[in-house]
Symmetry: C2
Subunit: 288 residues, 2 copies
């Protein structure tokens, strides 16, 4: 196995996709398979829906079957992994580990004692310690990230671009505090900043403020910006938007979305562009 | 009238308190009167409750009676004002101006076209343009602001103090973006940042995250920090906490509150200290 990650994404090497919930694992599986490389799906029970992967080579695993997963990967001579999709933060007690998984528990017991970032770092470190190379979805399928420029037909105005610029500056200022993946700006000011609640809850908060009359957002005003924090591990923790984000943004009366190009997952860009056009939203990738 | 604000707070000069809703106007009226200076209360209809001021010299005014208010102040030879208490942001159309107020409308029409900060600056500029001196509550009654150190018996631990320090650093980093009067930190990270929703809504958000199991806050963890933004006009827009804040903080399972000493209103400090002790919260003023 090569220790060089760049060499490890060589297309003909088999790739395991450790799949959680949502559309991203499906899109990645489809794009990786279309590129001709052998793909094995390790579907995490309770998160991924095996049937959605169609004819793919797939096995389901509980989190407590980590030992079995490692054995399967080695038997299949798979050294390259991508972890993608959402996973409700598991409780350590609910893992129900099989015998072959017990020896790995101390590692995860440590990883569980911290925030989500800490847990994710622990998961990456675990697989790397076991000799695997963990890739980001953008390494395998860069077309799943925000491209530079507008995703659909709508383009940000000068005023909307100014709000985006200010928004990205705000997120950069927050980054040393390990917070602030997204913010909403309108009326020349910052309306909402995301912390533990997540992007969708933040957008809904703005929708509620507007609905209750506590906040007015003029037509053409109101922009969501989203970007990774400095030091965020884009292999396992890339910020993402999807159709739900666009629906929430529309419901909140915002005019569009600014994303750090190449550093935010959009999944099926064509589908998102279509939804953006239908919703009269701009969705733009802005280079760092 | 002296142009020197320091001279203008001389105790024997009469003071007008333009009073909105809440306890702060009552406390200020009581403290100013106790210091021996003549106090006139201009109670804003729909916000201040005249009966609550007891035997004070008081007149009620609608916002549309600004002209009458100015005439009354001049007749009483009052040059010093404090504007204090909350006021629902009025709609310009609902002012119902009297004839003596009509000439001032263009000034306020401009002030209304902007955020709350802009409106408040417009109000201060208006009174100063009319020859009055606008004082902050802290100029008249510094005992209404957070003192240095703990307000009650409970003192922040080293870990809680670290969270406060990090919180104040975060608020300072946000200040150039004219946002971030408060934040909540727990588990070594930033949990919530206040923007347009206000401090109480932010605290309730954290309580909801905890109640829904999306966030765990250990006992003794979890700190609210509050401070003015750079350039905030502390004469008319000083951040404030009160008993409601303490109740929300308790409900969210936080351990205490850090305030910028001298720069956040606490109103009746003794009553708040008692409530802090009953709730086992620390409430500390931290010097800048």
């Amino acid at each position: 196995m090569s220790a060089d990650p760049a060499a490890a994404v060589v297309k003909n090497r088999p790739l395991a996709i450790i799949a959680g919930a949502g559309d991203f694992p499906l899109q990645l599986a489809s794009l990786a398979a279309a590129s001709g490389r052998p793909v094995f799906i390790a579907a995490l029970e309770g998160a991924a829906v095996p049937a959605a992967f169609g004819q793919a080579d797939l096995q389901s695993y509980r989190l407590g079957q980590l030992g079995r997963l490692l054995e399967d990967l080695r038997r299949r001579d798979i050294a390259d992994l991508v972890l993608i999709g959402s996973l409700p933060r598991p409780s350590f007690g609910a893992l129900r580990p099989e015998a072959s998984t017990l020896k790995y528990l101390p590692h995860f017991a440590r990883a569980f004692r911290g925030g989500d970032d800490h847990l994710l770092r622990g998961v990456v470190a675990f697989f790397e310690g076991q000799g695997f190379t963990v890739h980001g979805p953008a390494d395998v399928a860069p077309q799943m990230t925000a491209p530079i420029g507008p995703l659909g037909r709508k383009v940000a105005s000068v005023a909307q671009r100014d709000l985006m610029t200010r928004g990205f500056q705000l997120l950069a200022a927050l980054s040393p505090f390990d917070v602030g993946q997204a913010a909403i700006l309108a009326d020349h000011r910052v309306i909402a900043i995301e912390a533990a609640e997540g992007t969708d809850a933040m957008i809904r908060r703005v929708a509620d403020l507007v609905a209750s009359g506590r906040l007015r957002i003029a037509k053409g005003d109101g922009v969501l910006v989203k970007a990774p924090k400095d030091g965020q591990d884009l292999r396992v923790d890339m910020p993402a938007i999807g159709s739900e984000t666009l629906r929430n943004v529309t419901a909140a009366g915002l005019s569009g979305i600014g994303l750090r190009a190449g550093r935010v997952l959009v999944g099926d860009a064509a589908a998102l562009a279509k939804l953006a056009d239908q919703s009269s939203l701009f969705v733009e990738g802005v280079p760092s």
